[in-house]
């Protein structure tokens, strides 16, 4: 269902909704850039062409989540923090980020498993018939997903780092969205995708005129052509695991981890006890301590192994387990890498013909 709505009407409606919902959206912060924030005044909502520096992921898998509160020494009982209940609307989410959330669902919100013991022994030497990946639903992530309605915004001006189309994401893709907005003359065209979306914006706007529809279709048809960066994503990278290619491409990496923190699909985390509270915090495969054993053993001792893990997790392992690449082509890791490492280029130019 496609309708058109003036900017004024849209923002008025958002203002009304803010009585019942927490509104999350991009906001331009002076001297900093665009960031997703909890929006208190609807005028602050930035719905232009620019991209938020951090992905919307941070409202679902928070940089740090409080999981448990411990008792004082020898007091009984460990308490669980209860996930917040307030319903939210995230406005201005880009198609790549929404797709990223769908990918995260397969890790943190897998189909429920009924038995308490994780898996029956698969039998060494045999392939496990169990579902790939985790079988545990994470209450915190799942709750954040359930309480949030996603209102997307189609991309009108992808930049030189964007390569979503190479990964099956469209600048006007609706995967993971409840509503999708398209910027048009004087306002938005609004596409209602789910019942949840209908619930908040269904009564709004008027039907698009034939002319407007035609115009929107022609704009939409051209959206994908706006992307300059196109990469070839191989089916499997298995043949180049031991290649010295990884040495070469990881040489300039400074192991800062910005690529993992800003990625809409990176989800590796650490569990940390801070005095009486257990926290879950972002972690990254580029950090040396990520796999360091207490014994001093480290299965990924150098940047080569660590960077290779990042590429393989995204373009090989995740695909084996879930059938999709763990990358949506948002370009953040390229845009913000301090040493200009370009994962798109690295995947595109991987010397697949070279055998192990």
């Amino acid at each position: 269902m496609l309708k058109s709505i003036t900017k004024e009407d849209f923002f008025t409606r958002v203002g009304e909704l803010s009585n019942d919902f927490e509104i999350i959206g991009p906001m331009e912060l002076p001297l900093k850039g665009i960031f997703y924030q909890s929006i208190l005044n609807t005028e602050d909502l930035y719905l232009g062409d620019g991209f938020a520096i951090e992905p919307i992921k941070k409202f679902f898998l928070e940089p740090s989540t409080r999981l448990l509160r411990y008792p004082w020494k020898n007091e009984p009982g460990v308490e669980s923090f209860s996930p917040p209940e307030r319903e939210r609307i995230a406005i201005g989410v880009r198609p790549c980020e929404a797709k990223g959330l769908v990918l995260l669902d397969s890790v943190f919100d897998p189909p429920a498993s009924s038995d308490l013991i994780p898996n029956s022994a698969p039998g060494a030497g045999k392939k496990s018939s169990n579902r790939a990946g985790s079988t545990y639903q994470d209450a915190f992530y799942t709750n954040n997903r359930k309480r949030t309605i996603i209102v997307g915004l189609a991309c009108g001006r992808p930049d030189r780092c964007c390569f979503c189309t190479s990964l099956g994401v469209s600048p006007a893709g609706t995967t993971g969205m409840d509503v999708l907005l398209f910027e048009i003359e004087g306002g938005f065209a609004i596409e209602i995708i789910t019942d949840r979306g209908k619930g908040i914006f269904g009564a709004l706007g008027k039907e698009l005129s034939e002319e407007e529809k035609k115009l929107l279709t022609s704009v939409n048809n051209k959206r994908e052509d706006l992307l300059e960066k196109k990469i070839r994503v191989p089916e499997s990278m298995d043949t180049i695991f031991t290649s010295d290619y990884w040495d070469k491409v990881s040489r300039s990496c400074i192991s800062c981890g910005i690529c993992t923190y800003l990625c809409p699909t990176c989800h590796c985390f650490d569990l940390i006890d801070e005095r009486r509270i257990k926290l879950r915090c972002y972690d990254g495969c580029s950090f040396p301590h990520f796999t360091l054993h207490a014994s001093g053993e480290n299965p990924r001792p150098t940047k080569k192994e660590r960077y290779r893990q990042r590429v393989f997790h995204k373009f090989d392992y995740f695909k084996i387990n879930f059938g999709e690449n763990l990358c949506v082509g948002c370009g953040r890791c390229i845009r913000f890498c301090p040493v200009k490492i370009d994962i798109g280029d690295i995947v595109d130019k991987a010397p697949l013909s070279k055998k192990r």
Binding site: P122, G125, G133, S134, F269, A294, E297
Partner: protein
């Protein structure tokens, strides 16, 4: 929805000093209902937490067949184990689990079993050995090869007389270098295996020890005639969540915490040891 990180509170009811740097903790659930329902297989593990210090994975070192407590053997190594070693009977810790696949008990039935352990690697094997002894008719001969750096580092010494006396069971102890008053074997585990020449017919070898021991034991076992499917090992890896989510313990697309920690040699070889 349940908080998957919420541990069961358990009380330390006994602490056994195994070696200068390894202690075995006997843990009892505070909640009887949990104790009744908590079930595990040899080879699985728990995330054990010292409140305020952190969590670390430890395998069950006792057999589920003779359990009124949970036993975990802990080597003093890092922050969590350091804190654990400071604890005493009456203190409480948390455990969540069991996680992982455990040993393929069904596949081992009717086989001769060769247990190869190095140092604290005997912990998960002790669970399996005692399980086999308690289901003796299901398994054929049990050969236990247990190595340690020095005789002081040999684990579970009070089990040895029982294992030696058990039917169709043999125990071979070895230390790396000759010591005074040492009457058993001398030499690293692979060398000792070559001397013992365990039968490879209808046999499965179960190997657990430090990475260096595993590395050199595998070729020896292959040379002795064990096929790649008949060598299984249980791996150590840094595992934070145990749930298959935190993303660090993978070997290729397999997660050690969920798809392992028990793997066959052929599985690891197929994966080209993609750490």
């Amino acid at each position: 929805m349940k908080n998957i990180y919420l541990p069961h509170v358990v009380e330390i009811v006994d602490v056994q000093e195994e070696t200068p740097d390894v202690k075995t903790f006997k843990l009892k659930f505070r909640d009887n209902v949990v104790e009744e329902s908590f079930d595990y297989r040899p080879g699985q593990f728990v995330e054990l937490s010292v409140f305020g210090e952190g969590e670390a994975p430890f395998c069950f070192s006792n057999s589920p067949t003779r359990r009124n407590v949970i036993e975990c053997s802990v080597k003093r190594m890092g922050q969590v184990t350091e804190a654990l070693h400071e604890m005493d009977t009456g203190d409480t810790v948390g455990i969540r689990g069991p996680y992982g696949n455990g040993f393929p008990l069904e596949d081992l039935k009717g086989k001769n079993l060769l247990f190869v352990a190095g140092g604290i690697g005997l912990a998960p094997l002790r669970s399996l050995i005692n399980y086999c002894l308690d289901n003796r008719k299901d398994y054929k001969t049990l050969t236990i090869v247990n190595g340690a750096r020095t005789s002081k580092d040999l684990m579970y010494r009070n089990e040895y007389p029982v294992w030696e006396k058990a039917k169709d069971t043999s125990l071979h102890l070895t230390v790396d270098c000759q010591e005074e008053n040492w009457t058993c074997m001398v030499g690293v585990v692979p060398k000792v295996l070559e001397q013992i020449k365990p039968t490879c017919g209808n046999s499965v070898a179960i190997v657990c020890g430090p990475p260096i021991m595993i590395k050199f034991t595998m070729p020896t076992l292959l040379k002795l005639g064990f096929c790649e499917d008949a060598i299984i090992t249980t791996l150590e890896m840094k595992m934070k969540c145990g749930l298959g989510q935190c993303g660090r313990c993978n070997i290729g697309h397999l997660y050690v915490c969920k798809d392992g920690p028990v793997f066959s040699y052929s599985q690891l070889k197929d994966k080209n040891f993609q750490f």
